[in-house]
């Protein structure tokens, strides 16, 4: 859940049509029209990715006249499916996956179960991945994989490239080779398993 209080605004005089803002937008709210960036105000969550990467400093973040709440409600009828999906993705349902918004795994799972087709949909619906824009992409992709939904990539975008390996998939040969060097693969796997299966 996140209160959406801000919004991006483009200075069309400064915009040179480079498309970087559209490639980094976390909700897919930016399109290019006549070589200028256009913000879909209904879709923008004010994450500032565009403002931070615009080489021309053509984007500013302004306060919304009408703030809104990005939140997916988990009805009691959905709770069991949500819990199962989270644990299939090797996450505890209450585990925080977005440190900026405090969004928990269960809300992202619910968004996917309710039809989110991409991480951009998840970000728009829950607010997750709209703070630092960095740390929570893997658990989001893990939840899509567990739900057997292949997320749709924004065309030409740099929003995300793909799922990477996790500790459960580290081969024994690597574990053996680096044993005693401080990586503690087995013990960390044990810890994460304990989290997943905790009440």
């Amino acid at each position: 859940m996140k209160e959406i209080n801000f919004l991006a605004r483009v200075d069309l005089e400064k915009c040179n049509g480079c498309t970087i803002c559209a490639r980094v937008c976390t909700t897919g709210a930016i399109t290019m029209q006549n070589r200028k960036a256009v913000i879909n105000q209904d879709r923008c969550v004010g994450c500032a990715a565009c403002e931070q990467r615009c080489p021309e400093y053509a984007i500013e973040i302004i306060r919304r006249e009408s703030p809104f709440i990005a939140q997916v409600i988990i009805e009691s009828s959905l709770q069991e499916a949500v819990d199962n999906l989270c644990r299939s993705a090797k996450l505890h349902p209450e585990q925080v996956v977005c440190y900026c918004t405090g969004t928990r795994a269960e809300e992202i799972a619910a968004a996917i179960l309710k039809g989110a087709k991409s991480p951009e949909d998840v970000s728009f619906l829950t607010g997750a991945r709209t703070g630092c824009k960095v740390e929570c992409i893997q658990p989001i992709l893990r939840l899509f994989e567990a739900a057997k939904v292949e997320p749709k990539k924004p065309e030409g975008g740099w929003q995300w490239y793909g799922l990477t390996k996790n500790v459960w998939e580290i081969p024994k040969t690597i574990r053996d080779q680096y044993e005693g060097r401080g990586f503690y693969f087995d013990k960390d796997e044990e810890l994460l398993n304990k989290v997943i299966h905790s009440k």
Binding site: K2, E3, N5, F6, R23, V24, G46, C47, A48, A49, Q52, R53, I61, H92, E94, Q95, V96, V97, Y99, C100, T101, G102, R104, T130, G131, C132, K133, V134, E135, C136, I137, Q138, P139, R142, W158, Q159, W160, Y161, G162, L163, T164, K165, N166, V167, E169, I170, I174, Y178, R181, G182, F183, Y184, F185, D188, E189, L191, L192, K194, V195, S198
Partner: protein
């Protein structure tokens, strides 16, 4: 008594309040004093910077000397070279030493190889324009003939095949024939790296895409995560481009020297040994503080403000031994934060509370640009000034920080309130002072009293354990980290 060590000056930045709004520093509060770090840890080595005249040429000379023994024969005059840097170096001792090292690396490489196409690619944490600010501030744009840029984790990526599958780097970090890894040995995030492969970490962070960073912080576990950077560095793709590494060697009291090596893992051993010995002592000493008010007062995000070389995030975890890898979860790290369920219910017993010695926190001056709500949720926090509170409310990474903190109009009001809730007169200021720490007289007396036994404990009990956990040869590691070795580094 009075304060001898100046706090770091506020910096103009889009991530912090206007420096003119910082009216009073924590070090200027009543009954404050300074403690020389060498009075607390007598075996700290002498440093080359700061020096008597604050002559930055000491860093230039040390860099030139370190690079004398480095093989650069792989770089030909018609090649392209990227010097890879990271934001954090620019926060050390005012940032000038790191900037000087970067400039000198370029000059030496140019002179030794005849290569003219040398670029600076400076990575960031979560403040995507931070190194752009430093590039301008320290004249790196001019020195690199306008070939100096900041790179951010949401920029275009490049897949890198590694021994643990595909990971992702930043295209512009690797768009040259050769890369030079220009970093520092400052300990900084012990809660994340646990002094395991500290020297390698930027390959999984500053030079990496969001997928890789997220794998580190979410997919691997609190200790296994350090393998991510090693996997990237050891990849064929990176090894074919890697030329050498050059590090600013930092200790809690300043810049010890500059070290360079073609073999990053050899350098990593030296970083690990000195990191455990010197920062380990400082960290253990701060862990012996029984009660205090922490004052944040440095141009960096909340967790990164530092005192005696130790960042606030690590003080928040100093109630356990962060170097002991048998402790799975530091009191603050992102895995720990993730494992607090609803209503702050720990999901597993391994979640340890935040350092209970911190009775209150005064946020006198610290930046946005890092998710910091955890700190305000777990420690009573007083933010000085409405402008600073508003800045946090506008930061997408801190939308709930001010929901947990209160605002005081000025530093004096903040400390009065802190005394009431903390019921202690012990104060420690995280203001980046170099060579000493600024604390209240009561805390100075406490630290001076307990320091000798802490030094003994680290030297004889903890260091052997820490080195063994990291697979370091004990005799060699003790020699690398010793004062005698440091003098002749």
């Amino acid at each position: 008594m009075s304060v001898l060590f100046s706090p770091a000056e506020p910096r103009e930045s889009q991530y912090g309040i206007n420096p003119v709004l910082v009216k009073k520093r924590g070090a200027d509060l009543e009954n404050m004093t300074s403690v020389l770090l060498k009075d607390l840890i007598p075996d700290l080595p002498d440093v080359i910077y700061p020096n008597k005249d604050n002559d930055i040429n000491a860093v230039k000379t040390a860099t030139e000397k370190a690079l004398e023994s480095v093989d650069m024969s792989m770089i030909k005059p018609n090649h392209t070279v990227n010097i890879l840097a990271s934001h954090h170096g620019f926060t050390l001792v005012g940032g000038l030493p790191y900037a000087e090292m970067l400039k000198t690396i370029k000059d030496v490489v140019e002179k030794k190889t005849g290569c003219k196409n040398i670029r600076l690619r400076a990575g960031v944490g979560l403040r995507f324009r931070e190194t752009e600010e430093y590039i301008r501030r320290f004249g790196l744009d001019k020195h690199f003939n306008n070939k100096a840029i900041g790179i951010a984790p949401i920029d275009e990526g490049i897949p890198i095949e590694t021994m643990i599958g595909t990971l992702y780097g930043l295209r512009r970090a690797y768009d040259a024939d050769w890369i030079i890894h220009a970093h520092n040995s400052d300990v900084r995030e012990v809660h994340f790296h646990r002094q395991v492969d500290r020297a390698v970490k930027p390959f999984g962070m500053s030079y990496a895409r969001i997928e890789t960073r997220s794998a580190y912080h979410q997919n691997m576990g609190p200790r296994a995560s350090n393998f991510v950077a090693r996997a990237i560095f050891d990849s064929k793709f990176v090894q074919e481009k890697y030329a050498f590494s050059c590090f600013l060697m930092v200790v809690p009291n300043g810049i010890m020297t500059v070290d360079a090596d073609n073999d990053l893992y050899a350098l990593n051993e030296r970083v690990t040994a000195t990191g455990c010995r010197y920062y380990g002592k400082m960290m253990t000493l701060l862990g012996a503080i029984d009660e205090c008010i922490a004052v944040l007062d440095f141009p960096c995000p909340v967790p990164y403000v530092f005192s005696g070389g130790i960042i606030y995030a690590n003080f928040a975890g100093a109630n356990i031994d962060l170097y002991d890898l048998d402790n799975p979860l530091p009191p603050y790290t992102w895995y720990t934060e993730a494992f607090y369920g609803k209503r702050n219910r720990p999901l597993v017993d391994e979640v340890v509370p935040v350092n209970p010695a911190i009775k209150a926190c005064i946020h006198n001056y610290a930046w946005t640009g890092y998710p910091s709500s955890f700190f305000a949720e777990h420690v009573p926090t007083i933010v000085v000034g409405y402008e600073q509170a508003e800045l946090f409310n506008k930061d997408p990474q801190n939308t709930t920080y001010m929901k947990h903190a209160v605002v005081a109009e000025n530093t004096d009001v903040a400390i009065d309130f802190a005394f009431k809730i903390a019921k202690t007169d012990k104060i420690i200021v995280f203001d980046g002072a170099v060579g000493g720490i600024n604390v209240s007289e009561s805390l100075a007396n406490h630290l001076l009293k307990v320091a000798p036994s802490i030094n003994e404990k680290v030297e004889h009990e903890l260091l052997p354990k820490w080195f063994a956990q990291r697979g370091l040869d004990l005799r060699k590691a003790l020699l690398i980290g010793s004062k005698e070795a440091a003098v002749n580094y």
